[in-house]
């Protein structure tokens, strides 16, 4: 670290000459080849440390064709879950020595463009975090790009990682039924969203299982604003006593609409959300919701991607969810 302020970066050759070996041996040490004498290895490692050697990623990528970089495609939606997920993926990738390149994509056209950009950045594979745009088979999914899809349907060529939306939604609905509500209304996520469809399915299954009649589905777009908009109409109906919103942010909008309409939660109406974002515990009242384990999702998504890169067969991975009961749902009077 003394006179290392040279302009040129230190390369394998520098390490080699310092350790008195060939460049190839240094390469073997760097890549953990077993064919190196322990004593030589130690000498090389010392030289690397002394010189502050760092392998040159680009050179290695050029030679091997592997960039050791993963991509992540995220939709521009302002959902809090995405950020949590991105963080988890970033950490999981870092742990495995992979860099992570982010690309944003809003809408289907942008998705193609996003893949384009990833291809051209030469990532080894990518995670698609874009629930709004299901990955149809064929053209839009580049054949040469290894993909893992999160919370989205995909053809069988791709691994899928997702929360167990269906079970979570079922648990939420059963919880409301158990509180004595005659039925449970559902504020679903947008048409075309896989997670939304799964949650709706879980809700429906729970009602069916209890022999109850499902009211018509109301649909929002994940935002609190849409929750409020739909909530205004729902608050008008006296037969609405239990509401299951497909995410916490829409539930927030519902809470406001109900409060404004003079229908107290949980006194008169019970509300349950989905996600358990950090703020949900401080909603008014604190929100009963279904927790997603984003860290686990991130881990599994990266694992699945590494598997895909290594040529393992794709599979679907389901991460459990858990009901968190708070004050927005209490036993019916």
């Amino acid at each position: 670290m003394s006179e290392a302020e040279q302009s040129r970066r230190v390369s394998m050759r520098d390490v080699a000459s310092r350790a008195g070996v060939s460049g190839q041996t240094v390469s073997r040490v760097v890549n953990d080849s077993p064919r190196v004498d322990p004593e030589t290895r130690a000498r090389v490692e010392t030289a690397m440390r002394e010189l502050g050697y760092r392998p040159h990623r680009a050179a290695r990528a050029l030679r091997t064709g592997r960039t050791h970089t993963l991509g992540i495609v995220v939709s521009t939606l302002e959902t809090v879950g995405n950020f949590r997920m991105l963080q988890a993926v970033a950490d999981a990738a870092a742990t495995r020595g992979y860099a992570l390149a982010v690309v944003t994509a809003a809408g289907a056209a942008a998705l193609a463009e996003a893949f384009d950009r990833l291809r051209d950045q030469g990532v080894d594979g990518a995670i698609v975090l874009n629930e709004a745009t299901p990955l149809a088979r064929g053209a839009d999914a580049p054949a040469d790009l290894r993909l893992v899809v999160v919370d989205s349907p995909a053809d069988e060529r791709f691994a899928v990682v997702q929360s167990d939306h269906e079970a979570g939604a079922r648990a939420a609905t059963e919880h409301l039924i158990a509180l004595g509500h005659p039925t449970v209304w559902h504020l679903a996520g947008p048409e075309g969203s896989y997670a939304a469809a799964e949650r709706e399915r879980g809700w429906h299954a729970a009602l069916e299982g209890a022999g109850l009649v499902a009211p018509p589905v109301v649909r929002g777009d994940w935002t609190a604003a849409s929750g409020h908009r739909e909530g205004v109409a729902l608050a008008d109906r006296p037969d609405v006593s239990a509401l299951f919103a497909a995410n916490d942010q829409m539930a927030l909008g519902l809470l406001r609409a109900l409060a404004e309409a003079g229908r107290p939660v949980p006194g008169e109406v019970a509300v349950v959300g989905f996600d358990d974002i950090a703020d949900a515990a401080d909603y008014l009242p604190p929100l009963t919701t279904v927790r997603q384990d984003f860290d686990e999702l991130g881990e599994r998504a990266v694992d699945a991607l590494m598997g895909a890169i290594d040529g393992r067969a794709p599979r679907t991975d389901l991460v459990p969810t858990r009901l968190i009961v708070r004050e927005s749902s209490v036993p019916r009077r």
Copy 2:
């Protein structure tokens, strides 16, 4: 696109031979060199299109030393603003043909590790989005990494981009004063946060300017939970009639604490937040807050970084903020 399913990717040489020129000429076309005959250029471009040629990033990086990749360091804090900012930066980088690598860093030790990782990914420069850990001069900021710092103090070697926290906070406080409140309490962000300090400064300046006495500062950690915790104590004091929270999420916690204590907002207490995250309009009541222009921040941060990479002198860039008045603050009875 017909028989392009070869295993090897198409390189410059392929394009060159198809267009009947040398590789060097192709390189010149790709890099927009003026020294190319228009007719030749057209021929090369056609060949590139027909072959689906894409420049090999790694090879280029190896040769030029520039990776055309920017890094972004984000703290693990669950602040919604970070995600918005990251998106904006991703888009700005993409527009300029740069890839973006994300690295997470919680705490000061992690910051050094984050720089390490960025260095070894060979980014051309990085944006630091880590308000919790000010960048002291010297060791922790690697000399060979071009940096732009967002919302953080830094030494004069680095460009700084930030919202005009001080002016925003001043406007928020002046708004509350104008409503007739005898004074304004402040729920500040955590010690050590630059943005928090700036907002506190603006709050203080507004009170001083109006000749009012500043109550003691109460301090949270940006989370809604901390807002609620501090809010419980504040709600107990009858002399609290106006509250300015340093971010929206803490304001959410305050709203809950006040509601639980039976002190209606805005009837009895006025509350103003900071950030204008999407949910703030659906808080109970809808929150008056100070809007940050994240897209503009992202643009400017990337511009500043490109400047730093090109060796331009660092400067500090201030992005205006704007007060958004909603129902949580109304004229005092």
